[in-house]
């Protein structure tokens, strides 16, 4: 059951990060940046399509997650199909207090997006963005973010929400960036537009990385407790794997920012080689992002390293 829960957590985290991060992308990378109606409409349509599939995945994994919690909380292997147990989870626990609102939104969002897609309406990004903010931030309240007493609880909760939102800006933004760069190349909109989109994503990505590092450090203070616990607890070891994958993402981002972007801007080669390398690098970043989210999905089911110090 725990393995199933890790898988469902992974799908849930990936899906809502894509919803938020991909829908924020046009607001900082495209707005006022040599906007063309066709380009913005194309990218908005891509985001709306991606959001539809992501919201479906989020809905299904949220239902599955609720079923797993019903089994794990009650200790009853059939808890997932017992109406009374499911009701108690939704009605009498802090997890349920957050989950019922998430479920409601996740029921409405795919219906709304399907209606827009089927009726061929002009793609709208902001409803996805607003939903994404709530869906990402509220995940902070259902895991280790909910622990603690008094002041530290609210600090930890807010910090965890910030950590998730900043991570989603980067992880979800990569998906839109990958599509946007390919679209700009295929539609031959020019190297200057491409350069500006990359520069803006790079700046926002840099701010996101700083926020991830700062909030990640505060989280470690709450959940790990000591440097030694990073090595001699399972939680600490998985966290190290997560940090290693994150550092690979940072290294790739630096490679893009400090090596490939100047080459693209200077036109030191035919442009195609640098662009191909850049797209590969973004794809590799996405793979490491998937590994980071997989580690997070596992971490939420493990007792924090701090517990070992208490026991």
């Amino acid at each position: 059951m725990e393995i199933l829960l890790v898988g469902l957590r992974f799908v849930q985290y990936m899906a809502v990060m894509i919803l938020f991060g991909s829908s924020l992308f046009p607001y900082y990378a495209l707005a006022g940046n040599g906007s063309t109606r066709a380009r913005n409409a194309n990218i908005a349509a891509f985001i709306q399509r991606a959001a539809f599939y992501a919201s479906l995945a989020a809905l299904l994994s949220a239902i599955g997650w609720l079923g797993c919690e019903a089994v794990l909380m009650s200790g009853d292997p059939n808890g997932y199909r017992e109406g009374a147990t499911l009701w108690t989870v939704l009605n009498d626990t802090e997890f349920g207090g957050i989950w019922r609102w998430r479920l409601l939104l996740l029921l409405l969002l795919p219906i709304y997006l399907a209606w827009r897609l089927l009726t061929h309406r002009t793609p709208l990004v902001w409803p996805v963005l607003v939903s994404g903010i709530f869906l990402v931030a509220s995940l902070a309240g259902v895991g280790h973010g909910a622990m603690g007493l008094g002041f530290s609880e609210w600090t930890h909760l807010g910090n965890q929400a910030l950590h998730l939102l900043a991570a989603a800006v980067w992880v979800g933004g990569l998906l839109s960036l990958f599509h946007a760069i390919r679209y700009i190349r295929d539609a031959e909109l020019g190297a200057e537009v491409q350069r500006r989109v990359l520069a803006r994503f790079s700046l926002v990505g840099f701010i996101a990385v700083l926020l991830i590092v700062a909030s990640g450090l505060l989280n470690s203070w709450f959940l790990v407790g000591s440097f030694a616990a990073l090595f001699n607890t399972t939680y600490g070891q998985v966290l190290m794997v997560k940090i290693a994958c994150f550092l690979f993402m940072v290294a790739l981002a630096l490679y893009n920012r400090l090596f490939l972007m100047p080459r693209l801007a200077a036109g030191t080669d035919d442009g195609e080689t640098s662009l191909r390398l850049l797209l590969r690098s973004i794809a590799a970043e996405q793979i490491f992002a998937i590994l980071v989210v997989a580690s997070v999905s596992l971490l939420g089911t493990l007792p924090p390293a701090m517990d070992r110090m208490v026991m």
């Binding site: 200790g75 009498d92 802090e94 450090l217 959940l223 940072v250 924090p304 701090m306 517990d307």
Partner: protein, 127 residues
């Protein structure tokens, strides 16, 4: 942002990360903090309720307290509930009769971060 500034900010962030490693912080998951009757105590009047203070808030709907006599037979208790004013406190009324002797309280609780913990502690009743 120049290359040098970018690298400098990142190296500072990593240095702070290493320094932060030795800090200590809050307690995760629910563990026993204190209890009434006290852990390992000898009481002279039979307690009416068992009250356990945990290190974290708990979900009363999925938390339990059981009381056992030295011979292993269970003493009747009412349903455990989280305290209305402090969600880190779990109480259960003792509805059975206590004879003088040794007892063991067993608890299993679900903390608000959805993890189970359990434990037990003894006390004695000597009028």
């Amino acid at each position: 942002m120049s290359k040098t500034t970018t690298l400098r900010v990142i190296s500072h962030a990593i240095a702070v990360a290493i320094l932060f490693g030795s800090c200590t912080g809050a307690v995760a998951h629910a563990f026993l903090d204190n209890a009434t009757p006290k852990v390992g105590s000898v009481v002279t009047t039979p307690p009416k309720t068992i009250r356990i203070q945990f290190t974290q808030r708990i979900e009363g709907a999925f938390s339990h307290i059981h009381l056992f006599a030295a011979g292993g037979q269970e003493i009747a208790t009412g349903p455990a509930a989280a305290d209305a004013s402090d969600q880190a406190v779990l109480t259960a009324p003792i509805t059975g009769t206590l004879a003088p002797g040794h007892y063991e309280v067993r608890w299993d609780v679900l903390s608000v971060d959805t993890h189970h913990t359990n434990g037990h502690f003894p006390f004695s009743y000597q009028p």
